[in-house]
Amino acid sequence: MSSRKPYVRPKYWNEPEMGWYEKAYLFEVVRGLAITGGVFMRNMAKWMTGRKGALTSYYPEETRPDYAIHNRGKHILTQRPDGRPQCVACNMCATVCPAQVIEIDAAFDPDDPTHPKYPSRFEIDYSRCVFCGLCVEACPEDAIRMVKETPDFPGVDRDRMWAAREELLNWQPAKDVAKPYPVAGGTPAGGAR
């Protein structure tokens, strides 16, 4: 004969008090099934009638409707009225960037005596960007901004997550409140460089 006492499960201070209704288990099971089944039927009816029956969204194909208007999404480089980049390659954004993701190569443009310095290369590494917006704050020329849309994530590779100058210069607003902007769709006058 063993002298071990049988195991007694400890009583907890918040031990649930169950009546016969809960203890019978079956009724509560039916209630649970009714809840989940009801949700299933409701969502299924939505899907069948061509509506969306889910709270989640397709990412990245679908933009969530609840993004703030001033959401700090992907960066864009603004353009002068002739389509050249507003950026003067002063490197202030690259200097202030806490994640050090901005890389700029400056070049000299003898054709534009007022703005002879321009970025021949302007790249942002989105695999490391923290979207703090300090580059926008630091820019003295209003050349870099952040728009609502998210950058073109996801990438298959970290090397593919760099946004190049051409991509950043793609922004074509219908109207820019800050300054005149090149006409969307038309070829920029001096944007060859």
Binding site: Y25, L26, V29, G32, L33, I35, T36, G37, V39, F40, N43, M44, W47, G53, A54, L55, T56, Y58
Partner: protein
């Protein structure tokens, strides 16, 4: 002889195709249904791209099952230095094969008369008829229980031969759980046997084609509502799915008795589980929901509650019966998935207490009441 063989081959091919298709489709159904139940979209990224174009066929993520199957087939078949290699290899098959074999005695349609269906073959078949059932055995229901008994051995062999503590614990749990719930399952079905007076599945289905209380179809679920609930509960426990998935509880035992199995061997356990969902659905439909028949239907046609008889041609009857059976099985599979994504897992002591202190007394009471009622009425 050749006639019988040809029919048997067609039946077996049909059964294999249906079961494996259900096994494959149910993985997708389970994901999608779970997603829809919880306001999500579900797996929808796998696609097949048409060669030389950028056109991708997605079909609501139906190819995820294919991708998973391919992954399982191509993975390294890692084998532990098992304590018992023979048992280790046998375990998979002992778990998978009985599940498939159970379908041999489940009728998936009424009586087939190939001569009437294809008049050009009438002379060859010579007026023979075949019940749509692979093995027309009188002891049908007993065979079902015999084979589900073998699948216990599969789980225990797999767990024991893996030489892993988690597997062994899973096998112990599987053994005690399956034996407990098989008892409940057998007792619930005894009531049905008393009412129908037969264990032949075809007879059971044929007896459900009448009308009871004027309107209701004479389904087993109306004769034995308690037995239906108990049977479904015990069957889900037999299949070791949530809320009864203690033998493979991830948070406690990794994957329980098949922890040490990899690649397609693990896939076979999964496939066996999904095929068993379909088998349970087929059994439940046969025993409680009128099997392959529409309500009030028999092999000749429909007898509506008012007494009106609608005659159907043999071809129409066969097609209706086969489709009805598939639809019933699918709906019941979906119900099992609903249960799986609704209820939380039992604790181990609760699980056994539930079987022995709650389900078993209820099953016995149900059996006694049924026996007294049958004795009083005859």
């Amino acid at each position: 002889m050749m006639q019988d063989l040809s029919i048997s081959i067609v039946y077996i091919a049909y059964a294999m195709a249906v079961l494996l298709t259900f096994g494959a489709i149910l993985t997708w159904v389970e994901r999608k249904q779970a997603a829809i139940m919880s306001d999500r979209i579900g797996a929808n990224r796998a696609y097949v791209r048409i060669p030389f174009t950028q056109f991708k066929i997605i079909w609501l993520g139906l190819f995820h099952g294919m991708a998973d199957g391919l992954k399982l087939l191509l993975k390294e078949d890692f084998k532990p230095v098992a304590y018992d290699n023979l048992a280790y290899s046998l375990g998979v098959w002992a778990a998978f094969v009985p599940v498939m074999l159970v379908f041999a005695v489940i009728p998936f349609g009424g009586t087939l008369d190939p001569g009437r269906l294809f008049p050009s073959l009438a002379a060859w078949y010579g007026g023979r008829t075949y019940p749509m059932q692979i093995a027309p055995i009188d002891a049908g229901l007993l065979i079902v229980f015999a084979f589900s008994g073998i699948s216990i051995i599969g789980a225990m062999l797999a767990g024991w031969s893996s030489n892993n503590k988690f597997s062994l614990l899973g096998a112990l749990r599987a053994g005690s759980q399956l034996i407990s719930y098989e008892l409940v399952m057998g007792l619930t079905v005894l009531g049905l046997i008393l009412i129908y007076g037969s264990v032949n599945m075809v007879t059971i289905v044929q007896q459900q084609s009448g009308t009871v209380l004027g309107v209701l179809p004479a389904w087993g679920v109306f004769y034995q509502p308690f037995a239906a609930i108990l049977f479904m509960t015990a069957a889900i426990a037999e299949n070791k799915r949530i809320p009864f998935d203690l033998p493979e509880a991830e948070s406690e035992l990794i994957s329980g008795y098949f922890t040490e199995y990899s690649a397609m061997k693990q896939g076979m356990f999964m496939l066996a589980e999904f095929v068993e969902i379909a088998i349970i659905a087929a059994l439940f439909a046969t025993l409680f929901l009128g099997g392959y028949n529409l309500p009030w239907m028999n092999d000749a046609g429909l007898t509506l509650p008012g007494g009106r008889f609608i005659e159907m041609s043999h071809g129409a009857v066969v097609v209706t019966q086969v489709l009805t059976f598939l639809v019933k099985v699918f709906v019941l599979c979906s119900f099992q998935i609903l249960v799986r994504w609704t209820l939380p897992r039992f604790r181990w002591d609760q699980l056994l207490a539930f079987a022995w202190k709650f389900l078993l007394p209820l099953a016995v009471v149900n059996l006694v009441v049924t026996a007294v009622a049958v004795w009083a009425l005859t």
